[in-house]
Each structure stands twice: as C-alpha cells, then as structure tokens.
C-alpha cells in the first residue's frame, strides 16, 4: 500500500463517516420537543439550576418552569418525556448532576404505578425517546441504554441482549420512509421549546368535554415487581447525594390499581424516610372541563394553577435563592413566560376564529 493509497483510504473513510453522521442526523427520532428540551438543559450555564423535575407527561404538562421563574425566581427544569419508564430515572439523575449543582431532585411517582408486562413495544419506544434525546457520547446515555436493554431482555421473551439499534438509532429509524404515513416533515427539526414545558397547539388549549368522578381508596396493592425493585434502586442511589429528593404525584384521575399502588408507594416512602408531595385532584381548585385536556393531563390553564401551588410549596419548604437576580440565568430564562403567553393568546385567537 502506497502512501497515496493510504491517504486516499483515510480521506474516503472520513467522507463516509461524515455522510453517516448526516444520515443519522436526518433519520433520528424527532417527534419531538423532547430532544430539544434535553438539549436546552445540556446547554444551560453551569450551576444555574436549582433542581430538576424528572418524570413523565405528568410533569411536562404540569410544571411550567418559565412561570415558576417569573413568579418565584425558581429554576427547576423539567426533564420529562412521554411515558418515561421508571428504569431511566437514575440515568436522568446522572444527566442532571453532570453540569448542575442540584439542590433538589423531584421525581414523578407515576412511572412506579404502572404494569409493564405486555407493553414492551411501547416502552421500547418511550425509552428510545429518552435515549435519543441524551448527548450521543454522554455517560448518561450509555447508562440509559444499558438499563433499557437489561429490562427488555428480562421482560421480553426472545429479545436480544444487545440490540445495536439503541446505540445507533439509525438502525431502527432508517426504515421510517417505508410507512405510508411518512412525510418529509418528519425529517425536519422540531419547533421551539419552552424550557422543558410542553406547548402544544391542541393539547395546551383543549378541555375535557365532561367532568369525571375521582376515585379514591384506602386499599393497598403491591407495585409491579420491576417497579418496586427500581424504586429501591432509586432510593439507594440518592441516599448519599447531597441534594434533597422529593417524590411528586401531580393531580389526575387514578384508576383502581393506580390509586391502591399510590398508597403502597407512600407507605414505602414513609418507611424509608423520603418526602413526597401527593397532590390529589382537588375539586376546589381544578375542574376537568376547564383545566384538563384529558383525565391524566392538565392543559395550559391547569398548569398555571399547578405551577402556582407547587411553586409556592417549594419556596416555602426549601431554601432557594432568587434566580431572577442571577444574571447567568437571564439569557435563557428571561422573557420565556411572556413569549409563552403571547403564543397561547395567538392560538386562542386562531381557535376562536374556527
């Protein structure tokens, strides 16, 4: 092999590598504001965040971080994604710890109330939403892949121990074009994000058509074994951390199983000595026909109420400095809430026209 051939081969491999990068970028999973939200979090100034709120759609539809900043001077960032599986909580804690000196980590209780059995295709997809949103070479991404693989391998019969497509998502998403429903818009980058809070033209304004009876119970029911095991893993993980941990249940309709499991989970947390804020659906405050777009999620107006209440709770119970005076936060946080309200006003106008 001559020097020229060697140079040429290296050059060719570089061109191939850059083409690969472009293809992967084009075909990544991008529904999604999730990737953008996680990216924004990664790019926040070091040590400017008080804490994170980790969890499912029960978080990013409820906790309007921009409003909390405007009203209470809090910088509590929601690291949330649709249906986020419980096994990724530790990965996200690791992600949060990387750049930020956390004072508080709020953890969603919803993922612990679920049954994963028979739902693995969905949870495979939900896991990928998180994995794909994390930095490609970051340790938290590898951690998330590892945990997902372990769960899928143990829960799904006949699944492979090493599915390369978690690492290289292109292996899975390259066939996107095959779907009849595919449109080239799916390859475009998603819309702007709002500091981890979901703004959605439909969901933010929608309201439920009828009220719903809330179900409450004193009964107890065991958590799904995998969830219980993961809960203890999480507790074990945060034990020696120098930030505080608060479990959170946001107000929504719980079915029989979920309600009974929530009771069990509160028992466990009491026993283990961990704080939790269990917001039951308070009919004095919320109404499904005004504040919720379905029985599990607040719309923009419901989020306004919840953020008000939970923000007050946080300022009263924890000792946070007022970040509005921290100029390092100004660029990312100032004016976001105003922009949000403008957008909502615009959407409301559009909806009224129809």
């Amino acid at each position: 092999m001559t020097k020229k051939q060697l140079l040429r081969s290296v050059a060719f491999l570089l061109v191939v590598a850059s083409m690969l990068y472009m293809l992967c970028d084009l075909f990544e999973y991008q529904n999604t504001y999730i990737s953008e939200n996680f990216k924004t979090f990664r790019n926040l100034e070091k040590n400017t965040v008080d804490g994170v709120v980790i969890g499912t759609s029960g978080i990013d539809r409820y906790w309007n971080s921009a409003k909390a900043y405007d009203e209470y001077g809090l910088t509590m960032y929601p690291l949330a994604s649709d249906g986020m599986p419980s096994w990724l909580i530790i990965s996200l804690l690791k992600e949060a710890e990387r750049n930020q000196d956390l004072k508080l980590a709020v953890i969603d209780m919803r993922p612990f109330l679920l049954t994963y059995k028979g739902q693995t295709t969905r949870y495979d997809a939900y896991s990928r939403k998180v994995i794909d949103a994390l930095g490609f070479f970051s340790a938290s991404r590898f951690d998330a892949i590892n945990r997902t693989q372990k769960v899928i391998y143990s829960e799904v019969e006949g699944s492979s121990r090493y599915d390369m497509s978690f690492m290289l998502s292109f292996i899975k998403y390259h066939s996107k074009w095959e779907e009849e429903s595919f449109s080239f818009d799916e390859l475009k980058d998603p819309e702007t994000e709002y500091l981890g809070f979901l703004m959605h033209q439909k969901a933010s304004l929608a309201k439920m058509k009828t009220e719903k009876e809330i179900y409450t119970t004193d009964e107890r029911m065991d958590l799904y074994p995998l969830c219980e095991q993961i809960l203890y893993e999480v507790l074990d993980y945060v034990k020696d951390k120098d930030y505080e941990v608060l479990f959170l249940n946001t107000p929504h309709y719980l079915d029989k199983t979920e309600a009974a499991r929530l009771n069990t989970m509160c028992d466990i947390l009491d026993k283990e000595g961990y704080a939790y804020a269990n917001y039951e659906f308070d009919t004095e405050v919320y109404s499904f026909t005004e504040d919720f777009y379905n029985d599990g999620h607040t719309n923009f107006y419901g989020a306004e109420k919840f953020t008000e209440i939970f923000g007050r709770y946080l300022t009263e119970n924890y000792d946070f400095e007022d970040r509005r005076n921290d100029e390092r936060c100004a660029e990312e946080w100032d004016g976001v809430y105003d922009k949000m309200k403008e957008t909502i006003a615009l959407w409301e106008k559009k909806a009224a026209k129809k």
Partner: protein, 536 residues
C-alpha cells in the same frame, strides 16, 4: 452470525487487520482461528460434526496418498525389467485399495449428512408406506435434530476432495491445519460456493501481501452483494410469503405469475448476493473463491441455466455424478449394445437422457428433503433430457423455418422461454403443496386479471409490500438489470469504474453506501404507531 450483520463486518475487519500484520507463514492460522470462531457463533454442539468430517476426510486422504506413493516407489525400485502385465496388475491392486478407502470415507460423510438432513424425511415416508399397507407401526420422527451450519456444503467439498485424491488429481494435504481451514473457511461455510481443494487449498499455502486494489475490489463486491440482498431480495420477500401461503386460493393467476416473478428476483438476489458477500470477503483476504452465478436468467436453455446458476453445485454434480454415471460399465455397455445394432442415435441419446434424472434427483433433494424438491428435480430432468433427445429435430426445424439463431429477437425469445419454463419449477417448490402448484400454474393461463397488471385495484400493494417499498425494489431491479446487461456484454464493472475520475467514483461509492443504509432491510422494525403517545 449473518453475513449481513454489523457483527460480521466488525469480525471481518478484525480478521483482515490481523491477517495482514501477522508473519505471512501464520496467515492460514489466522483464518483457521477466525473460521472456527465464526462457526462457534452458531453453537458449540455443531462443531463436533465439522471436526469429525475434517478428521475422517483428512486421514482417508493421507491413507490413499500413502498407498499410491508406496506403489510408485515400488515401481521405481523394480526398475525397467518389470513387464507391462505386472505393472498393470500392481496398478489394479493399488487402485482397488484406494477405491475401498475412498468408498468408505465418502460413505461415512454421506451417512452423517443423511442422518441430520434426510432421516426424518425417510421416517415420514416409511410411515406412509406402513400406513398404505395397513401395518400398525409408526416410527416417531426425531425431534430437535441439529443441522450443523453449512453441512451440505462442507460435506460436498470433503467428498469432492476424497474422490479427487482417489483419482490422483492432486496430492493429499499433509498439513492438518490447512486442511481443516479448507473445510471450514468462514466466507463460504454458510452458503457456498462449494470449493474444490485443487483451487482453494493451495491458496492457503501462498503468502498474501496486502494489495490495495484487491482489498478494494473485495469490499466493492460485498457492497454489491449487500445491495442485492438487503435492498432487493429482502424487500420483495413478503410478497412471496403472501402469494404462496396456505390462503393462496383467493388470488388470480396473474397474482401467481407476479409471485413467481417476485420469487425469481428474490431467490436470485438473495443467493447470489450472499455469494457476492462471501467472495468479496474472501477477496479482501486475497483468496479467490469460484464464481457461483453467471447471470443465469439470461440463459437460452434450461441446460445452460444449470451451468450458470449455482455453478459450483453443477460442476460438482458433473464431476462426481454425471461423468461417473455416463462412463460407468452399465451405461457404456448399453451404449455399445445400441451401437452394435447400428442404432447410432439411440446409442448417443439414451445415456445422455437417462443420466440427467440421476443428477437432477440429487440436485432436488440437495435443496431440501421433500417430495416437492424431488418433483422439481424430475421436472428439470425431463426438460433437459427431452431437449437433448430432440436436439436433432429442433435443428431441422430451425433449418426448415430459416430461423436466424444469431438474431437478437431469437435470443430474446429463448431467454424468455427458458425463464418461464424455469418459473414453473420455481412455483413447484415454493407453492404450499402439489395441488396448489398445479392450480397455480393452470390459473396463470386461465385466470388472467388485467386490473391487477395495471395496478388498477391496488391489489398489488396488498401483498405485504406497499407502494413505496415496491418502488424501491423496482428501481433496485432496474439497476441490477442494467449492470447485468453491461456484464453480459463483457464489461468488467469494477475495472471500468476504477478508470473513472475520482469524483465520479467516490460519488458512486457514497450513493451505493447510502442507498444500502437507508433502503436496506435490517434492524428492528420501525413502526411509527408505537411512538405515538396516546395521551394527546
């Protein structure tokens, strides 16, 4: 480990790297370790089989060689005084010893192959015979027989080796490691080509220096194979599953015809693509594996097709079945019998139209242990035999009608005719049973559905491949067809490409890689619906 998996590419990269940095005299060892590592990926129990075959074949080869060498030294020692008769007697004696060793070792190999591949087929048939005669006996088929990876291929290679040594074609391999490598060489272990020791064995003793062009050509061949396999074959595959399923009766003859076309495309792209990957991988190691396909669908007769499709199997059958049968005593006697009576035509035709039945029966069951494959063999045998027997008639007809056999139109006619005749044999093996096969072939002529042809009712997209996939497959087939026509006209694609400007060349390579990556079928299924979060 599939040849199209990322694991295999990583494995190959490591092997290629080690192969060219170790001292040249250890290159064979790298390949042997690589081949056994590759084999172990498919399970540890299977290794016993291939080792058994290797040891038996190696020892039998050495033993035959020893007998032959002893005979030669003895002959030398006797000097010039020995008479012709003595010489012949000695030769006869040694040959019969050699033939005995040969027969024993070939039988052992065949026995193992028959046990794992054909035992249950035999039991099934035995049971139906018992049933027929109302014997109250039933043998239970063996469950969980492991069919070791590539056993048909390496067994045939070993048998070929034993026969060649017996015939004195070349000397037996003395180096056990190199022989074991010949049997287990990883690029060809899964689906061939069926190598002959005379061609492959000596390459393991040669020193292979890293050659940029060879390695590059190897990689290009692999890329081409991946294109055929992943972009075309795997994309049209669902059609075949749908059309030739148990619910076949709902379709019209035109759908069957379309299914046959899809199957012809799929099986060629899958098999020849796999072979290209194998040959490309070997070429990256400086090893030449024989051609296994020579654009078979351009054949103008069935006999020609079998010289261009799965060439190494055909060659194996010719060397070790066709010629031996044709030159065997009963056949030559029969031929003489006719000749002595002055029936020259029969003397010539009878052996050549009977032997194909033997060959194609074996080719049939080689492909699979079922009666459908036997029928497939017979069908091909009938066509080849008839065309041999009627060759003089055809020749007269062509002369009579003054057909210009050099004209393009005539060649095209022959190509299409051959393709369709073979299409029937493809339906024969792929249909779910004989009745289905006959129904399908009949419907093709009687139940034509024009709406389907022009995609008017869109049924064409309801056979498991939607319009987008169909479009990609169609473009893929057109690319393949173009390249095949160029090759058929003597163009060496890789060499021609190498002469082009670097920008053009690189553009081609990059497009090829991108096309395979995006349009290839691999990885877990993506279904957009599983990603939709119902909570909206």
């Amino acid at each position: 480990m599939a040849y199209t998996s990322f694991g295999f590419f990583a494995f190959l990269a490591i092997v290629v790297f080690l192969y060219y940095i170790v001292p040249k005299r250890f290159q064979w060892a790298v390949l042997l370790v690589a081949s056994y590592s590759f084999y172990l990926f498919s399970g540890i129990e299977q290794v016993a089989f291939i080792i058994g075959t290797t040891v038996v074949t190696y020892l039998a080869g050495r033993l035959m060689q020893k007998k032959r060498d002893a005979y030669k030294t003895e002959l030398k020692n006797l000097g010039p005084d020995v008479t012709k008769e003595e010489k012949q007697a000695m030769k006869k004696a040694v040959n019969s010893k050699i033939k005995r060793i040969q027969a024993a070792s070939v039988l052992i190999n065949l026995f193992v192959l028959a046990m794992v591949k054909y035992l249950n087929f035999g039991i099934e048939n035995l049971n139906s015979i018992f049933n027929l005669f109302r014997f109250d006996v039933e043998i239970n088929p063996l469950k969980n027989i492991i069919v070791p990876l590539g056993i048909s291929f390496y067994t045939f290679m070993s048998i070929g080796y034993l026969i060649d040594i017996g015939r004195g074609r070349y000397k037996a391999e003395t180096h056990f490691g190199k022989f074991a490598l010949f049997v287990s060489f990883f690029p060809s272990i899964v689906q061939g080509p069926i190598n002959r020791y005379g061609d492959l064995g000596k390459q393991f003793s040669e020193e292979h220096k890293f050659d940029y062009t060879t390695v590059k050509f190897g990689a290009q061949l692999m890329l081409w194979g991946l294109f055929k396999k992943l972009v075309i074959a795997d994309r049209v595959a669902p059609i075949i599953g749908t059309v030739f399923s148990a619910d076949y009766e709902q379709y019209s003859g035109t759908v069957y015809f379309f299914g046959m076309l899809a199957y012809a495309v799929q099986i060629y792209c899958d098999f020849s693509g796999g072979i290209d990957i194998a040959r490309g991988a070997a070429q990256m190691l400086g090893i030449d594996l024989p051609q296994n396909f020579e654009r078979p669908y351009f054949s103008q007769s069935v006999a020609e097709y079998w010289r261009r499709w799965h060439i190494t199997l055909g060659a194996w059958m010719r060397e070790y079945v066709f010629y031996p049968v044709m030159l065997s005593k009963p056949v030559t006697k029969l031929s003489k019998f006719f000749r002595n009576r002055g029936w020259k035509y029969l003397a010539k035709i009878v052996p050549s139209s009977v032997t194909p039945f033997v060959v194609f029966f074996l080719i049939g069951i080689w492909h699979g242990a079922s009666w459908q494959y036997v029928a497939f063999g017979l069908y091909n045998a009938i066509i080849v035999s008839t065309s041999v027997a009627l060759a003089p008639v055809f020749k007269k007809m062509i002369e009579f009608f003054k057909i210009n056999t050099e004209a393009f139109s005539w060649k095209l006619f022959c190509i299409v005719r051959t393709f369709l005749v073979l299409g029937v044999s493809k339906i024969l093996v792929r249909a779910p049973g004989f009745t289905a096969a006959i129904h399908m072939v009949k419907s093709i002529f009687t139940d034509v559905d024009l709406d389907f042809i022009f995609a008017l009712d869109g049924q064409i997209y309801e056979l498991g491949v939607n319009s987008k996939n169909m479009f990609v497959a169609l473009v893929g087939v057109l690319v393949l067809l173009t390249v095949s026509i160029l090759q058929e006209n003597g163009m060496k694609v890789r060499e021609t490409l190498a002469k082009q400007n670097i920008i053009f060349r690189w553009a081609i390579y990059l497009i090829a890689i991108a096309v395979i990556l995006v349009f290839g079928v691999y990885g877990p299924d993506y279904s957009a619906s599983s990603f939709i979060y119902e909570a909206y």
